[in-house]
Amino acid sequence: MAITSHLTADGSTLNIVIDGRFDFSAHQAFRAAYETLPDRPEHYCIDLEGTTYLDSSALGMLLLLRDHAGGDRADIEIVNCTDDVRKVLTISNFDQLFAIRPH
Amino acid sequence: MSSEHLDRQLLEELEEVMEGEFATLIDTFIRDSAERIAALQKALASRDAEAVRRAAHSFKGSCRNLGAIRLADLCQGMEHQSAQGQLNGQENTLVDIQQEFSQVKLLLQALV
């Protein structure tokens, strides 16, 4: 598991890229990726292209990010998820909370 | 005259090769030659051309080794004749061989 993140030059969007398994062991790194920023960006983009698997605690972490980013006003998109990851997100009705874009 | 009977240079080399045993060699040659001449005589008497040829051939070899050139040539003549089955007139050659051997014997004994 590896988490990398970067802000766009204008500071408006935070990209978070997750490689490998997205599970409880990622929670500190994932939280650090957005909590340490001095200013809150407008958009968040979670890139799951390299994510092989996502468990229920990862779903919790995504919700924590959502609440941190303003709850229902949060603008978060989840991109490039594989079929398996997509399935987990769909089962949990996360498409109601996030903009999910597959490949 | 003696130079026709013996190869002096060969004998000098032989003396060198034999070191202290040159006298023994001469002595052995003289005794062995007497036996070979007797064998030649016997073979001729029995009219056995092959036996004559072999005896002549062997004697020729030792004569060459001792530098007895003329004696060797006489043996060779006898060897060739008998190889063709020719025994007639060989008695004369045998007499020549005996006479030549007497000469060689004296000359060789003089060397030691």
Partner: protein
């Protein structure tokens, strides 16, 4: 020069005396014989290195003595120099025929004798060196042949454990095919399909043969478990890519034949085009190589797309290594593809095609030539009769799940292992061995992971998920998890997996049991609020499975997963 022992055999005492002197002066030991019989006796006793032999001697002449001496010496080189004043050619020829190596004429010359002894001594040394090198080479060669025999045995055990003896297959491989890099494997899949792979490794000898072993064992390991052709090709490619040095790879054609659907899938990477011979039209259709050989590309770049052909009963498929195309006649001309096509054109009885091809190649290259490099396979579209000993899986293969369909396994993780050991990959590996289940790996991992986390975090570590109600609590929860994992010294988690076959697929029961006190609330549980940070795990499992049961006091959860074998 080292001191030699030299035998002098001469019936004339003066000649012996002179020779003895000359030879001794050179530092050699001399043994003297006065006739032929004595010469042979002394030769046996003294084992001299060189013999000086008079021709005319009493008792036994030099010719006979020479013959006997050469016989006794065997392969040891003992030069014989004939001492002779004979000058006629016939006598000299007799000397040579008796084994004489040279002549020495009278009167003896010291310098000539010394030169000859030295020359023959050098020859003796060379001969001895040659003999020992010959022995060494022979020894190495014998060793190599033994190793090849062992390698071939291992290779044959692995490569020929399949169904090459099936009634619809005919093939020709030279007995040393393995060492030409050619490998042919065939096996039946559990669904009745037949898979055949013909490979041609680059190079010759052991390096070429060695890749055939992982290829064959991977092939058979996977065919019998029902893996698809693309899975098998990918696996073989990955294995060869990893283990073979750059520059060694395997040109191959692989086919998957469904007799039920009368369909053939072909993958050709680097071998000459294969032929499909259709009985109805008597025409051939060529299947070209569209891929790189096995072992060249990394897994990511490997292409596994296959060509699919509908065949009719008794249609035939031919594949070959380039040995046929490159077979040369005495003028150095190659057989080539046109001649091969001509054989098909000229043929009027498909049953004779196989023999016609072989016969034609053979008469082209000439009867004298060996066909070490020629591999040819014919497969008929007709359900095969399998020879009993090779039918199905190889004898030594374990009873794999696929053969029985019914099996179960249990696995227990104990307290001291929770921190360091993750049992999920292990369990998943076992599940991936089940034919058809591999494509379900991700879902199965999801189910297992949720059940295991649940058992570990709540059952064993007794963590309270309400902690996760807030963002701070969420972090706190995982800090506590970490802490308790270090401290835990009691408890267990058991994983039971039970499988039953069902048609083309099966039913899997995964039960995870923990040492905890069970759930407070008995299921069915509420589907959580979509916005809650926790409580989603079991709900996910319920959605991914056919059914979830809560057993015992709530410390056991069983997930039932049914699946269909959707791969043909």
């Amino acid at each position: 020069m080292a001191s030699l022992t030299i035998l002098v055999a001469d019936d004339t005492p003066t000649d012996r005396l002179i020779l003895e002197r000359i030879v001794r002066a050179e530092g050699h030991r001399v043994v003297c014989a006065g006739d032929g019989v004595e010469a042979v006796t002394l030769f046996e006793r003294e084992q001299p290195d060189l013999v000086l032999l008079d021709v005319l001697m009493p008792e036994q002449d030099g010719f006979d003595a020479a013959r006997q001496i050469k016989a006794i010496a065997g392969e040891r080189l003992v030069p014989i120099i004939f001492l002779t004043s004979l000058t006629d050619t016939e006598s000299l020829v007799r000397c040579l025929e008796a084994g004489g190596d040279d002549f020495l004429s009278k009167p003896y010359n010291r310098v000539v004798i010394q030169a000859k002894i030295r020359a023959f001594n050098r020859m003796r040394h060379m001969h001895a060196t040659m003999l020992s090198q010959r022995d060494e080479i022979a020894h190495h060669n014998e060793h190599l042949l033994q190793e090849q025999a062992v390698a071939k045995q291992v290779f044959d055990n692995i490569a020929h454990s399949g169904c090459l003896g099936a009634s619809n297959i005919r093939y020709f491989l030279s007995s040393l095919a393995a060492f030409n890099g050619d490998v042919l494997v065939a096996g039946m899949r559990p669904n009745g399909n037949m898979m055949v792979l013909l490979g041609d490794f680059t190079g010759h000898g052991l390096p070429a043969a060695i890749g055939g072993i992982p290829l064959a064992s991977t092939f058979y390991g996977m065919v019998y478990k029902g893996f698809s052709m693309t899975d098998i090709l990918r696996e073989i490619n990955a294995k060869l890519n990893t283990i073979l040095p750059v520059g060694i790879f395997c040109c191959a054609t692989m086919v998957d034949i469904s007799f039920r659907k009368q369909r053939i899938k072909v993958w050709n990477g680097g071998l000459p085009e294969s032929f499909i011979f259709r009985r109805s039209t008597q025409q051939i259709e060529a299947v070209q190589s569209i891929h790189l050989p096995l072992g060249v590309l990394k897994s990511k770049a490997f292409k596994d797309d296959c060509l699919v052909y509908e065949l009719a009963s008794d249609d035939r498929f031919y594949m070959w290594s380039d040995g046929i195309h490159e077979a040369r006649n005495s003028d150095g001309e190659m057989y080539g593809e046109e001649r091969l096509r001509d054989v098909f054109r000229a043929n009027d009885d498909p049953e004779q095609l196989f023999n016609s091809i072989l016969g034609n190649v053979q008469s082209f290259v000439g009867e004298e030539e060996k066909h070490d490099d020629l591999s040819l396979v014919e497969i008929r579209m007709e359900p095969p009769q399998l020879p009993t000993e090779t039918a199905g899986a190889p004898v030594r293969t374990l009873q794999t799940p696929s053969r029985t369909g019914e099996w179960a396994m249990s696995f227990e993780v104990q307290s001291r292992s929770f921190r360091s050991f993750d049992p999920l990959p292990l369990v998943l590996n076992v599940l991936a061995e089940v034919p058809g289940l591999r494509s379900h790996s991700n879902t199965l991992y999801g189910i297992l992971a949720e059940l295991y986390s649940n058992a570990l975090e709540h059952g064993v570590l007794k963590l309270d998920s309400t902690l996760k109600n807030t963002a701070e609590g969420f972090a706190d929860y995982y800090e506590q998890r970490d802490q308790r994992l270090d401290d835990v010294d009691e408890g267990f988690i058991r994983i039971h997996v039970c499988h039953t076959g069902q048609g083309e697929g099966g039913k899997l029961r995964i039960r995870v049991e923990d040492s905890g006190s069970g759930f407070d609330a008995q299921p069915p549980r509420q589907v959580p609020n979509v916005r809650a940070y926790h409580g989603r795990g079991l709900a996910l499992v319920e959605r991914m499975c056919d059914a979830v049961h809560y057993l015992g006091k709530g410390n056991q959860v069983e997930a039932v997963y049914t699946w269909n074998h959707d791969d043909d």
